[in-house]
Each structure stands twice: as C-alpha cells, then as structure tokens.
Symmetry: C3
Subunit: 293 residues, 3 copies
C-alpha cells in the first residue's frame, strides 16, 4: 500500500523536485486518512466546486490540469453510479478514461487470471486505476502490485473510502463544522461498508455522537458511542416536522422508500448535493494523486 501523500511529504518533495512523491499514493481505506489529510482533501474539493461553478455555460474556465492523463476504471462488478462519478471527475479536469465495466472478462479466456496479473497489464496502459471488486481486500492487493496509484471504488464487504470522504465532506459543507455534531446512521448497518468507513472517518473529529438505528442489533468495533435500535424508519413530511431546522438529511442513493419524494424540496434534504460533492471529492483525489496541489 502506497501511503497517501501527506502535506509534509509533498512539501519535502516539492523542495526536492517536481512532484516526486505524488505517484506514491493510493486511496484504499478510511483508516489511512488523518484529520490533516481530510482537511487538505476537502480544501481541494472546495476548489473543484468553485471551479465548476465558475465555468460559464459556454465551457470557458474548464480545467485541463489532468490533460494527457489516462484513468482506467477496472470494475469487476457493475456500479454505474460510482463509475460515472469517477469518469466525470477525470473528464472535468481534462483527463481521459479507459472503461472496463466487465473486468471479469480479462480472465474469461483462462478462467482465472489473477487480479495481480490484470493489474500489471492495465498499469501498462494507464496512469491511475480505479478498482471496483467483489472481494474484500482486493484494492489493497492491487495497490501492492501496481506502481501507479490505485483508488478503491468499493471492494465487496470491505471499504468504500471515497463514499465515506464525500459523506464527511457533505456534513462539513452543510453544517460548517464537524466537531460536536450528532450523527444518526439508519438502516442495515451490519452489512454497510459505507457506514463502517464513515464511522472511522468521523471518529477523527471531537465530541461526535453517533446514533446507530437499525432493525438488528448492531455490533461495531472501534467506535466509542453507539445506540442500537429496532424498527423501520422512513423520512417523510412528518419526520421533517420534528427534525431541527439545522438538520441535514443524507443518503448515498439510490433510495427506495426510505425518503419520500415530498422531502426533496425541503432545504434540509442534502442527498443530491451529496452526490454532486462526490464529483468534487473524486476530482480532488485525482488531482492530488496525479499532479499534487
């Protein structure tokens, strides 16, 4: 696992020459980010947001900072939503994309090429690999093999760190701070990799209260505070009436009936802004990993 380039590493490398350390980084799991790294990623994400909003409707102002770079999306299971977000991020910065939605076909002829062999081939074609895999730990194995950066876009029941990053970023954008917040996590938490990654990240901040609300008793480790609850929860107009005015309603999407459509127009409904924040977070990570700040 190549460490995500820290501020200090980048500073020393900037002294040493052109972006020497910037090819070192991978984004594999929530645990690799300390509070300083989060702050920096969020700063760049805000720059990306400003960049996008500053673009005129005639396209002027588009960044070309990643022109000449090629990102391979290597998806062993389909996830159109995540893939599109990464591909849009790359293109918004002027970069190019190689798409492999059906990466299992790499091994179809031989019925069993290893992930490592596939990674060695794809890294010969691209500058950064975005990997979606059905097995926990696959992203870490890919990063151990590749000389180019690897971003984990979800590895089975394991981690989905960019989703967790965009969740935390959304909280900060909506509320203005992360310290001292109260966070309610609702749903099938036992199987939720996003929840696990998010809980890791949010624990970096101070005075956090997390309420776990789930049909099943939840057992999560490494978290100081939790409350388990039962029942099925739907956010609708009635819930809005009792929610505080400063509350923020988030959802990773897609939703089914967890949030009713009439909630969408409420200013506290942040889930579509949250999806857009995913674009900015992924733009920020691609920029940091490929060219630095």
């Amino acid at each position: 696992l190549k460490p995500f380039p820290s501020l200090s590493a980048r500073r020393s490398s900037a002294a040493a020459g052109v972006a020497a350390s910037l090819r070192l980084g991978d984004v594999i799991e929530a645990q690799q980010f300390d509070r300083g790294a989060l702050t920096e990623i969020f700063e760049v994400a805000r720059e990306m947001d400003a960049l996008e909003r500053g673009t005129t409707c005639r396209g002027a102002g588009r960044s070309r900072v990643l022109e000449g770079y090629l990102m391979a999306t290597l998806f062993y299971e389909p996830s159109t939503r995540t893939r599109l977000s990464f591909e849009a991020a790359m293109r918004r910065l002027g970069g190019e994309v190689l798409t492999t939605e059906n990466a299992r076909e790499f091994s179809s002829a031989a019925k069993g090429e290893t992930l490592e062999d596939t990674i060695r081939t794809v890294e010969g074609y691209s500058d950064i690999i975005v990997l979606r895999h059905f097995e926990s730990g696959a992203a870490r194995r890919a990063a151990a093999t590749a000389d180019i950066p690897v971003i984990n876009a979800g590895d089975g029941p394991g981690q989905h760190p960019t989703q967790a990053l965009l969740d935390v970023y959304t909280i900060e954008r909506e509320i203005g701070t992360l310290d001292g917040i109260k966070l309610g996590l609702v749903g099938d938490l036992a199987n939720g990799r996003t929840v696990r990654s998010l809980a890791y990240l949010i624990a970096k901040y101070q005075n956090i209260k997390i309420y776990f609300v789930s049909p099943d008793v939840v057992k999560m480790k490494r978290i100081d505070l939790y409350e388990a609850a039962r029942g099925k929860y739907i956010v609708d107009k009635k819930v809005l009436d009792v929610l505080p005015k400063h509350a923020v309603i988030m959802h990773p999407l897609p939703r089914l009936d967890e949030i009713t459509v009439d909630v969408d127009s409420d200013p506290r409904a942040a889930y579509f802004r949250q999806a857009k924040n995913g674009l900015y977070i992924r733009m920020a990570l691609l920029k940091l990993l490929l060219v630095g700040r």
Copy 2:
C-alpha cells in the same frame, strides 16, 4: 419541457448577454419543431457536413466548439447504432462523453430507483443528457426534472425525434426541396415511432402526399392523406426499373431483406447517406443546445 430555443429567443438572449437562453432547450418530440426551427437546424447540419468534408485527412479543420462539454448517454435499452451516432457527433465537435449503456443498473441495488432520481444524479455530472428509454413519455419526464438539456433518443413506442429530423433533412438534401414531394411509407407502420415522428414533421411542408403501404390497415391521426395497402414489399432491381429517376430510397437501418444488396450501388439508394446525415443533425442539435449558432 424546456422549449427548443427559437431564433428570436436566441437573438434576444444574444442581446442580453452570453447565450443566456441556450440552456433552455430539450429535444423531446417532433411536434415541438415548427418550420422555422427545422430550417435553422438544417442550416446548421449543412454547416456540419461542410465542416466534416473540409477536414483534411490529417485531421486539420476539426471543430473544437464543444470542448469542455460533457454529454451523458443514458441508455435504458441498448441501441448501439443511435448511441454511436450521438457519441461521434459530440466528439467530432471536441466534446466528451460519459457512456451508460446499461442505465438500468443505476437502480439495480435498490430494484427501483426512479428515472427522476437518476436524472438528478447524472445532471450533476454532465452538460447534456441523451436518453434512450423503454417507456413512452420517459424523455418528457426527464426534461421536466433536469436543469440541463435532454435529448430524446427514443422512448419506447413514443417518439424518436432525431431520427425523424434526419429523415426530413435527407429528403431535402436529396431532392432539394420539401414542398410538393410524394412520400411512400412502407412497413409495419402501426408500431413505428419513427414513422409517427416523421409524419408530424413532414406535415409542416406544403402539398405533401404521403402513401402508407403496410401489411395492416393503418390508423393514423392528424394526417390528411393516407392510403393503406397490404402485402410485403421488397425493393430490388425490378422496383428500381419502375421507380422515377429522381426517386430517393431511404431506410432507417438495419435492413434485412426489405432492400436487396444489388440496390446499394444505385444512385437513388440514399440509406447510407441518410445514416451519415444523422451525424450532422445530431452535431447541429448538440451545438445549438450547448452553445447556440
């Protein structure tokens, strides 16, 4: 439904500032185009044709007018032919493409994300959406949701307006006029959305005679003239012998046995030129919707 930008709207917006009204437009159904709009679209399509032909074999002369723009092709059912035509059009103008050939997977996790939710996510990533859907009316719903332009690339048994536009454009290019023509429509007309869209468009012109030739009795409304016929019709060398010299043979492709291969070399066989015209029409629409004339 955001109205397709009319000449006058664009003129006033040009006076008011930079392309203010140009994000208003959608291309949803044949009915939205009046004769003036058709004339203007065809003018731009001819410019696109000239641009393409003027490009040297070394690539010089390629337009970059849509550089920095991102088109999402959101296809809920496969249509490689239509998708390629749109993607080629976007790239020929310097724009970029996000491809979703299997848009149903957006909702696979939740088994039922609404089209509206998907549109809200995709419009966060792109500047224009090209939608292919299996349900009539889907494009109109998407346009009602999106703040960016939506182009209908076929919605089930509903409309396929860009196909109709390229058909009418082809007639004009081949014959030199649209007024006074005689048009024979042959095939399974009852289920043909292209025929319906085409009949709407061609009715904008004067002294049109349309002959419907179909195995079944055809019932179409809003058309003054029709003749129904029975039988199976194949265009072959024998038909060529009795067709007027100025006749034009068109087909939306793919063909099976409706037209024999030995007809291809006849100058009246326009179907491959027709396919190419689809590229020019789509280039014209993308340019008009994204940056105006």
Copy 3:
C-alpha cells in the same frame, strides 16, 4: 483489402501531396508484411516507447499527433485486454475512441444485419475501425467494404496480426536481433491463431529454428522447420535453472498455471514487457495508418 502503405508508396505520396496514400492501408493478416514493413513498424514502435518514457509524471511530453481522429472499436466478441490496448494506444496519441463492446446489438433489432452494412454505418462516424469478430475472414470482408482503414483485432480462428507483430517486436527488443534465433512454441498450437500469425512473420528472418511443443502432433503448413512434442509444460523455477541466461520467456496472457508466479521476478520473464510492447505496436500502426511517419 487495402495494402498496408509501404515505404515507397509513402515516399511517392509525400512527393505527390499530403499523405495521399495513407488512407489505403489495412492491417488484416501477418502475410501482408514483408521484412521492410516490419522494420519500419518496429522503428515507429520504438519511437512510441521513447515518447512514453520521456513523458514526465506531470504529463508533459504527451503526443497529440492523432488529435481530432476518431477510432471505432467494433467488437463482436468481448476481449477487454485487446480493446484496452487499442484504446490506450489511441488516447496516448491524443485521439478519441468510440467503443462498441457489444457490436452484435447492431443487428439485434433486425436479427441479422450484415457485417458490411454495419461497417458502412460505422465508417460514417469514425476515421479507423478496429474489428474483433468471431468469424474467420470477417476483417478482410470489412476492409473490402470500408473506405477507411480497418485493423483486425482477431477474427475467430483466423488471424490476430497485431499480437503477432508485438511478439516479433518483443523478441527483437529482448534479444537485439531476429535472425538466427531459436524459438520454442509451447501449448495448444493446433488452435492457436497467434502462433500461426507469428510463424508467418518470423519466417521472414534468416536462420530461424522453431520448435513446436504441443500435447498433440502439430500439423502446420508453409513452415520449413518444426518439431512436434507431447506433454504438458510448465515454466517454473526448475525450468529457469536450465534455461540459457539470454533466453526470453514470453506469453500472450492471460496465463493460468503455464508459468508460476515465482518466475515473474526473473529478468528473462518478458511477458509483462510484452504486453506493454503491444501498446507501442498499436500506437505505431495507428500513427502509420492515420498520418504516416
């Protein structure tokens, strides 16, 4: 079949004007390349290699020589590995790509559009077609139809010429010469189209010894030298011990158990360099076919 542009043809066309003959070429089968053509393709491939290595980690130095060109990958059967290699090659030279991984859908509506009709449509959208097909001879039929260059990316049991070119190129890069080498071909040779294409190419050089090692008795025509053998062969550490120091171990990938993982770190293991050479060979062919040297 449009002949691959020879040195002399290009010279005369350079005298006659701008790249007049360069649209003539197709890459269909190994037999079309004489030793002079191979030498020239390998020269350009080495330039591509140098270009790639000379690119800084900030992307500076990327070639834009194919900017404005559009390559259509028309794949009637999936081959993610080959497709990615071509698409990376095109993008590394600044070109754009239209992807059709499921080209069979071109004909799905009609259950039987001919390859020729599909080619006529796609050539209207693109500048070069890379065709993968399940039928032997499909690439030749496509080339006979298209006015733009066609590259055969494998046609069923037929040919896979770019794979053969990269194999020969790899031998030259690893050993420094092609004349006088001893080549062992191991595996299911009877059904190997790559082996057939490779044997054709290598026979252009002098004093070549080819050893065919296969479970079955091999019958290959047009080759002067061969030895057949039986058994199943695995390259592992023990084989490395008896292989000469200057030996080169190649494999088209994906591998299963033919080569053990502990061989990978041996300097004689060339298969990942070989995959990378595929990128350079395809960059060279695209450049030669679209803009010449």
